[in-house]
């Protein structure tokens, strides 16, 4: 049974932007072993905004290719299918994170930094424990707090009431949300994940990143994002709407087998990774703002 406040949010969910259809088509194509770089390029070039962004990004200093890349096919060959999907999904998510309200700019930016830091951390942890789906972990972590964005945009009074209560009580935002309402950002995150038809792994991580032990088949993935959340808060990347760091769940030791002597390497790799990805987000910001009014130059195959 949904509470009236959550019902009101659900109505707004219908107004939320959907992920571009092209991103879904690209994901399907990448999962098809018979698809070639040329097939993928033809789907991407159907969408002029994505094409402009992709070319701008691969030519940015983040990738640092010594020569200019002028075709989508060449970009795919150089970066690989997974990196292309990751890149297009990240830029599409950035659209939803992009701000519509000047008064909340800093909160949006802080949450974006927090999410991006968490995504980098999840990828680093995943690599260390030899997780087989590192790119998916990046996406799960990037979206883990997407419910906060939904509240920030569609129920700002409620969202900031929870932020204030968390500050007054020096508590986690989720504790303030629970005290004030009958739902939390994990519930709104689930609604959005269902609306976007995100994979079960992403949805379960969004819902259970505070309670990884309840994530069923995705307990390991939720535990990685839970630890990533803790590490990026300790490193002060942005803000998740409060100033606290969640308690370390027992799953971290039991399932990930992370030892004390691995923490130094993990944190330093996360710091280096986060610093490296910053220019990438700047490139996304520029590409996104340019992309909407882009005059796309012809793409030659």
């Amino acid at each position: 049974m949904l509470s009236p406040r959550l019902k009101a949010l659900v109505r707004h969910i219908d107004d939320l932007p959907t992920l571009p259809r092209t991103v879904f088509r690209i994901t399907e194509m990448i999962n098809n072993p018979g698809a070639s770089a040329r097939d993928l390029a033809s789907v991407i070039t159907d969408d002029q905004v994505l094409t402009a962004r992709l070319l701008r990004l691969v030519n940015s200093s983040f990738y640092g290719f010594p020569q200019r890349i002028s075709t989508v096919t060449r970009a795919i060959v150089l970066l690989g299918f997974d990196a292309i999907r990751h890149l297009l999904l990240t830029t599409s998510v950035f659209d939803v994170f992009s701000n519509r309200n000047q008064e909340t700019t800093s909160s949006h930016e802080d949450l974006w930094d927090h999410s991006l830091g968490c995504a980098v951390a999840a990828k680093v942890i995943g690599r260390h424990i030899r997780h087989e789906k590192i790119e998916e972990l990046f996406v799960c972590a990037l979206l883990h707090d997407i419910g906060k964005i939904v509240s920030m945009v569609y129920a700002p009074d409620d969202y900031y009431a929870a932020v204030r209560l968390a500050a007054e009580k020096n508590s986690l935002l989720i504790e303030a949300e629970t005290e004030l309402f009958e739902f939390t950002h994990t519930d709104t995150g689930r609604l959005l994940a269902e609306r976007w038809h995100l994979p079960a792994m992403v949805t379960e991580v969004i819902v259970h990143h505070h309670t990884p032990g309840q994530a069923g088949a995705f307990v390991r993935d939720a535990t990685i994002v839970h630890l990533a959340d803790i590490l990026c808060r300790a490193l002060r990347y942005g803000s998740g709407g409060d100033n606290r760091i969640p308690a370390l769940d027992q799953c971290v030791c039991d399932l990930l087998n992370i030892q004390k002597d691995q923490i130094d390497t993990l944190l330093r790799e996360i710091e280096a990774g986060f610093n490296d990805i910053r220019p990438f987000t700047e490139a996304i910001t520029t590409a996104a703002s340019d992309g909407h009014k882009a005059v796309v130059t012809p793409v030659i195959f």
Binding site: S61, F62, Y63, G64, F65, P66, L78, L79, S171, L172, I230, L231, R233, A234, L235, R236, N243, R244, I245, P246, A247, L248, V252, C253, I258, Q259, K260, D261, I263, D264, L267, R268, E271, A272, N275, D276, P279
Partner: protein
Amino acid sequence: MRRIQLKEAQVDMILAADIDNAQQMLLLKKGTCLTAKNLRMLKSWGIDRLYVELPANDDADNAQAPENLIDLEQQILSRFTGPVENPIVSEICHVAAEIIHDRRPLKE
């Protein structure tokens, strides 16, 4: 360890971390003493930042900072909810404090 821009890098500086390109291909190993040729190669790959070892005379600055470092570590520890008597939590606070501390001089 200090993160610098490539244009600040000089011959004979020691790399404090491996440098990879976007495809995770190793370009230069940690511990490499930079040469003019290395610097040209990094520029051609579009690398714009790198980690180098601090020169010996910077150690004096670090020696003045233990109190700040301890404060920072305590600050991070106090933000944890739930039990903190856990070796992993202690280590997270310790290393995160070191990283944040090292970041400070770079923010201008």
